[in-house]
Structures are given as structure tokens and as C-alpha cells.
């Protein structure tokens, strides 16, 4: 019996040794260029100045990052992953992780993510959106929820209290809207897209109790959707010019150039708004969790291992090593030191003394508070981008005025959703 035990343990040790040796060997064997398709991020640009470090770590491999803006990156990753598969690493996000995972375009990350890089250290919200069907698919590069960001000086001058409810926000927006002085009450996103206008509309929809689906049955054609759309359209009357067909860039640009009193936007806005290099209103900015009942739009973007370009386990391991290194604590520390607020994802970094010193206790407090109302607002399905984009077009038509009947738009979307589900089965 003892000898059997010894034999079993010997085999186990041998396997353990072999696997650890092989993973080291795999890492050490990396060579050539790891090709990455991403969207512009300061953190990735910073990473490119440390190529030598990765070459040393991987045993000689290098990496090349191609950048495309968000919508183009989504289209190109989809086209590449489903056809030629030129890229070893894809930048994917919460909205298409289900599609990429279910289509087999990306590999389960944890199978190739070296344990010493401590995936569990990532913010729990970001881990949640990187997980689909019980498996983790990407390591986060950015993410978070929403914050109400406002101009302290304008609110003080008008005697308006920072709003904590939607009704208060609506009143404040109307009061602060002074287009003749170049100040607009709010900035929303009008540009079509599941990650554009629909992204900003969803907190209203979910906040009013809306649901997307019950199984395969669409549930979104509801009073909540009508009310959310009415509210969104009402607020759009006070939204800065250019946002009617604009996305994140237009909204944030209008705020940081001093033309907007307040807006509810994704958390990275704060980093830009308080940085004098990118903001004309730095020093005049306050932040709060989104007003009740709005939910925060939980999101996360990150790097995933492509399956086509990494045909064997060895190349998947190299891609995994690159992702682990790119999102490591050391690299996040560099981003923190470079004041790249929106590129921080690790709990250990966001609770560090350096973080508190750089951004003050208020921001840490606001982030902790907003974490409580952050939710997954979209439909977690591979079909989501298709459905979300279709609603984006209808919503853009409503915003631009080329369509006026909200219920008719929702009926059209419901018909489309039924077709979509039927086609996928």
C-alpha cells in the first residue's frame, strides 16, 4: 500500500514538475512577434516603452499593437477572429465577450494565465464582466461604473445642490442650461451603438425596472423602456450641441472644454476632468454616484487570447504570458505613477497610499459608493451587440427627430429580437 502511495505521489510530483517545467519552458520558448489588436489606451502606449522587459521575461518575444477606435476595433476584431485570425491577442469588452467566447474566437484565459500574476487582485466588478459561462475570458485594462460629474463652480453660483435623485438632476439641468452663455445643462450620447447611445440610455431603463429577456422571450417592450426613452429624450433638449450624433468623445470633450454643467458618464471621465493637461475645468469638478434610481453601467475592457493565430498550446501560453505581464501589478503601478487613472483595475493599486495621495479621499469614496449601484445593464448574450446596435439606430432616429413614436420603435425592436433569437437557434 505504501509503495502504491509512493508510486502515486511520485507520479503526482512528476506531473507537477513536468507541468511547471513545461510552463516555464513554454514561457521561455516564446519568440517572434505577438500581434495585438486594440483600441487606443494610454496604458498600452506606456507598455510599448517596456518592450525589452517583456523580451527578457518571455525569452525573446516582442509585441506589436495595432490601434483602432472603439467601433472600428469591434468590427475588425470580429472580422479577423472569424476569418484569417492574424492577431494573437484581441482587445474585447463586456459587450462582445459572450459572442467571442461562444464562437470559440478566444481561449479561456485562466488556462494560460500564470498564477503568480494574481488574477484575483482585479476589481471584482471587472472580473464579473470578464466572466461568461463560468469562465474568465479577458484580463482588464479598464473598466468601472458611472459617476455623476458636475461643475462645482456653476452649481454654487446658481445655488443648486449636487443632485442625488433623478428628479433633482432634471431640475438642476434645466436651471443650469444657459446656451446664450455657452453652458449646456448636460451631455448625453446620441450616436448609434450598443456601446454609445444605448449604453447611456440603459441606466434609465434598468433604473425604472426594465428587463431585456426572460429566457428567449423579449421583455424589454415595457413601460420602463418607454419611460426611460421619454426621460432620455427630455434631457436631450439640454444636451450640448454635437452630442446628438456624438459618443463618449463628444460628451467628454464638451465637459472638459467647460461647456457642460453636469453629466453621468463612465468613471474614467473623472481622471480626464481633473487633469489640467486634458481639462479646462480641472479644480472645479465634483463627483457623486449616479442619481437614484439610475444604475451604473458596469463595464470592462481587456485582453484575450485569440484561438486562430495561436493554434497550439505553446503560442496560447505565450499570449497568456503577454496578457499577464501587460496587466500585472508592476505595469499598473507604472500607470498610476503616470497618472493614468482610467487604466487602473487592481484592488491593490486602487487602495494603495500612492493612489490616495494622488487623487484624494473623495474620489476613493465616490468610487466605493458607485460600486454599490454598478450593474450589468446589458443583455449578457452573444446576440447582444446585434440587438443593442439595432436599438441604437432607433434611438438615434428618436433623438434626431426622424422618428417620433417611441412605442412603434420598441415594437420594431421586439420584432427584430424575435427574428434574431429564431435565427440563432
Amino acid at each position: 500500500m505504501t509503495s502504491v502511495k509512493t508510486l502515486v505521489s511520485s507520479i503526482a510530483y512528476a506531473c507537477l514538475l513536468a507541468s511547471s517545467v513545461s510552463s516555464v519552458a513554454l514561457a521561455a520558448e516564446c519568440s517572434g512577434t505577438i500581434r495585438v489588436l486594440a483600441q487606443p489606451r494610454d496604458g498600452l502606449t506606456l507598455l510599448e516603452s517596456h518592450k525589452d522587459e517583456f523580451a527578457k521575461l518571455s525569452g525573446g518575444a516582442s509585441f506589436e499593437i495595432d490601434y483602432l477606435n472603439e467601433n472600428d476595433r469591434r468590427a475588425k476584431t470580429k472580422a479577423d477572429a472569424s476569418t484569417i485570425g492574424k492577431y494573437n491577442v484581441y482587445y474585447i469588452d463586456e459587450a462582445n465577450v459572450a459572442l467571442f467566447a461562444s464562437a470559440g474566437w478566444v481561449a479561456p484565459l485562466m488556462d494560460y494565465y500564470p498564477a503568480e500574476y494574481d488574477y484575483a487582485d482585479f476589481d471584482p466588478g471587472r472580473q464579473k464582466v470578464a466572466t461568461y459561462n463560468g469562465k474568465v475570458w479577458f484580463a482588464p485594462l479598464t473598466g468601472g461604473g458611472d459617476l455623476l460629474v458636475y461643475r462645482k463652480d456653476l452649481l454654487e453660483a446658481a445655488g443648486v445642490k449636487p443632485p442625488t435623485t433623478l428628479d433633482e438632476m432634471k431640475d438642476a439641468v434645466k436651471k443650469l442650461h444657459q446656451p446664450d452663455k455657452g453652458i449646456y445643462g448636460i451631455a448625453l450620447r446620441g450616436q448609434r451603438g450598443s456601446g454609445a447611445n444605448v449604453w447611456r440610455w440603459m441606466p434609465y431603463f434598468k433604473g425604472f425596472g426594465g428587463e431585456w429577456f426572460d429566457g428567449n422571450e423579449p421583455k424589454f417592450n415595457s413601460e420602463a423602456a418607454v419611460k426611460a426613452t421619454e426621460t432620455y429624450l427630455e434631457l436631450f433638449k439640454y444636451s450640448a450641441p454635437g452630442t446628438q450624433t456624438g459618443g463618449w468623445d463628444e460628451s467628454v470633450g464638451a465637459f472638459t472644454s467647460g461647456q457642460v454643467a453636469m453629466l453621468v458618464e463612465s468613471t474614467p471621465l473623472v481622471g480626464m476632468a481633473i487633469d489640467p493637461k486634458s481639462s479646462q475645468v480641472a479644480g472645479k469638478v465634483g463627483y457623486l454616484p449616479p442619481p437614484t434610481p439610475l444604475t451604473g453601467g458596469g463595464y470592462g475592457h481587456g485582453l484575450a487570447i485569440g484561438t486562430k493565430a495561436n493554434a497550439d498550446d505553446a503560442s496560447k501560453a505565450c499570449a497568456g504570458l503577454f496578457i499577464a505581464w501587460a496587466t500585472s501589478k508592476e505595469n499598473e503601478q507604472r500607470r498610476l505613477e503616470a497618472n493614468q487613472f482610467s487604466e487602473l483595475n487592481r484592488t491593490s493599486i486602487m487602495t494603495s497610499d500612492t493612489f490616495a495621495k494622488l487623487y484624494g479621499p473623495d474620489l476613493g469614496q465616490a468610487l466605493a459608493e458607485t460600486g454599490k449601484v454598478t450593474a450589468v445593464n446589458f443583455w449578457q448574450s452573444p446576440l447582444w451587440p446585434d440587438l443593442g446596435d439595432r436599438w441604437g439606430i432607433i434611438l438615434e432616429e428618436l433623438i434626431a427627430g426622424s422618428r417620433t413614436d417611441i412605442k412603434d420603435g420598441l415594437n420594431e425592436l421586439e420584432g427584430f429580437a424575435k427574428e434574431l433569437v429564431a435565427r440563432s437557434q
Binding site: N71, R74, A75, S82, P179, R192, Q244, S257, P385, A400
Partner: protein, 287 residues
């Protein structure tokens, strides 16, 4: 003799082969997958016959895209030709040789500029808050002017950029064409007391009928490929008012759904329609 007859074939074979591979293979494949239900996210797919084509005609975005594409063709081709003729004549009539040389250089710049760059430049120029084009209106009225977000002006605003690129370039071509015409018919018309506009309308332009028809065809083909301009400036919006057929096909194939069979059926229909329409027009107007 034999070697003389074979030589053209020797030179023609390689480019024709490359053309066959580059043009016919994708075309044949597009036709093939348009009869299937292939989607990017699913490697399988089955034969569905004409289902994609039938679905197209109950798709409001497709019907809308046909209208937008036709309007786009009509507006950009007509305006480009009008601008080109007027500019060409004005330069020919009033500019000295040196002025013509300078103007030619200036008018060639827009078309040399990559379309995507031109689209970005104009997108910023039309921005309601910071745009140079909209600034005077904002300064005078105090109201911002958002031309690209307005469903009634968006398509015309993008068309303006297309006309800016091609109208000025074609204006240079018209000038060069006018310079090649013999002077005698002009002198004869002037001796008969024809007014300047009559000289151009009844003498110069009829003499330029053939090259102008060629220019029209070139522009018609070029206008079919307005994708980059529209993609950068409006992405087909607001809503779907600037969504042309190629923009919609791309959206269906790569941006929204990954329905490449459905997108291919649109591409095939576009190919058939343009071939038929262009052949008919060509035969009708052939000088």
C-alpha cells in the same frame, strides 16, 4: 507572324490572371454565400436559396438605403459636374495663364487629400461648437448650427464635401479641355454677336460632349464608393438618413450582425443593378 500574334497574349495573360483571381474569385464567392445563411460567429451555414434576397425587400433599412444611394448619386454627380463646368469656364474666361496655373494647383489639393483625412477635417469644420464653417452662424445668431445631426441637412452636408473634392478637380479638367478646343468656332460665334454664355452653351459645351459624358460616368462610379466619407462623417446617421447601400451592407456584415450572407446578397444586387443601369445609360448617351 506567329510570334507577333502570340506576344500580346504573353503580356496580357499575367495581368488578366491576376485580375481574374482578384475580381472574379471574390465576386463568385459573394454570389455563392449570398445563397447561404453564413454568419461570422458560426462557421457552418446552409443553403437557403433566395431567402436573403426576399428578406431584403421587407427590410426598411434596405429600402431606405436604395433611396439614399440614389439621392447621393443624383446630387453628387449633378453638383460635381455643375461646379466643374462653371469653374472651368470662369477660369478659362477670366484667369491669365499664371493665375490658371496657381488655381489648378489649389483645386487639385482636395482630391489628393485622402478621403478619410478630408472627412475628418470637414467633420470638425462642421462641429456646432468649434467648427469654422458653423462659427459665423453661431456668432451672428447665438444659436449653434448642427448640420450633421439634422436629418434634413446631414446628407447634403456630406455631399458638399464630396463635391468639394471632385468638383474642383473636374473644374481643372474642364479648363484643360477648353484649352484644347480650336479657337475658330469661338471667334465665329463672337463675330455673330453671341453673348459669352451663348458661346459656351452652344459652342464649347457641345464640342466637349464626349469627354463630359466620360467625366459623368467616372463620377457616377466614384460616387458609388462614398463609404469612407459617410462612415467618418455620420456613420449612416442620424438614424439611417445617410445610410447608403454599401454602408448598410458593411454594417450588416461587420459592424452589427456579422450576417455576411445577407450583406453579400446586397452586394450582389448592387452589382447587378449598377451593371444594368450603367450599360443602359452608356448605350443611350454614347456620343
Amino acid at each position: 507572324m506567329t510570334s507577333r500574334t502570340r506576344l500580346p497574349a504573353v503580356f496580357l495573360a499575367p495581368p488578366l490572371l491576376i485580375l481574374a483571381v482578384l475580381a472574379f474569385v471574390p465576386t463568385a464567392y459573394a454570389i455563392y454565400i449570398s445563397f447561404r445563411n453564413r454568419e461570422l460567429s458560426r462557421p457552418d451555414g446552409s443553403f437557403v436559396g433566395l431567402a436573403n434576397y426576399i428578406d431584403l425587400f421587407s427590410d426598411r433599412r434596405f429600402i431606405n438605403a436604395i433611396g439614399v444611394s440614389l439621392t447621393w448619386e443624383l446630387v453628387t454627380v449633378t453638383l460635381t459636374l455643375l461646379v466643374a463646368i462653371v469653374l472651368g469656364i470662369l477660369m478659362f474666361e477670366f484667369a491669365s495663364a499664371r493665375q490658371r496655373a496657381v488655381l489648378t494647383l489649389i483645386f487639385l489639393v482636395p482630391v489628393i487629400l485622402p478621403r478619410v483625412s478630408a472627412a475628418f477635417v470637414w467633420k470638425f469644420a462642421f462641429h456646432p461648437l468649434y467648427g469654422v464653417v458653423t462659427y459665423p452662424y453661431k456668432a451672428m445668431t447665438g444659436q449653434p448650427l448642427d448640420l450633421l445631426s439634422n436629418p434634413t441637412t446631414a446628407l447634403m452636408t456630406v455631399a458638399l464635401v464630396d463635391v468639394w473634392q471632385w468638383g474642383l478637380f473636374f473644374g481643372v479638367i474642364v479648363l484643360k479641355l477648353l484649352e484644347t478646343l480650336p479657337p475658330q468656332p469661338f471667334e465665329a460665334a463672337r463675330l455673330d454677336h453671341a453673348r459669352p454664355w451663348e458661346v459656351y452653351l452652344y459652342v464649347a459645351l457641345p464640342m466637349l460632349k464626349a469627354p463630359l459624358i466620360s467625366l459623368t460616368f467616372i463620377k457616377m462610379i466614384e460616387s458609388l464608393r462614398a463609404f469612407d466619407l459617410i462612415y467618418v462623417m455620420t456613420r449612416g446617421g442620424p438614424g439611417i438618413v445617410t445610410e447608403t447601400l454599401d454602408m448598410y451592407a458593411f454594417s450588416q456584415g461587420f459592424i452589427e450582425s456579422g450576417r455576411i450572407s445577407y450583406a453579400s446578397s446586397m452586394a450582389v444586387l448592387m452589382m447587378v443593378a449598377t451593371t444594368v443601369i450603367f450599360t443602359v445609360i452608356w448605350k443611350r448617351v454614347k456620343p
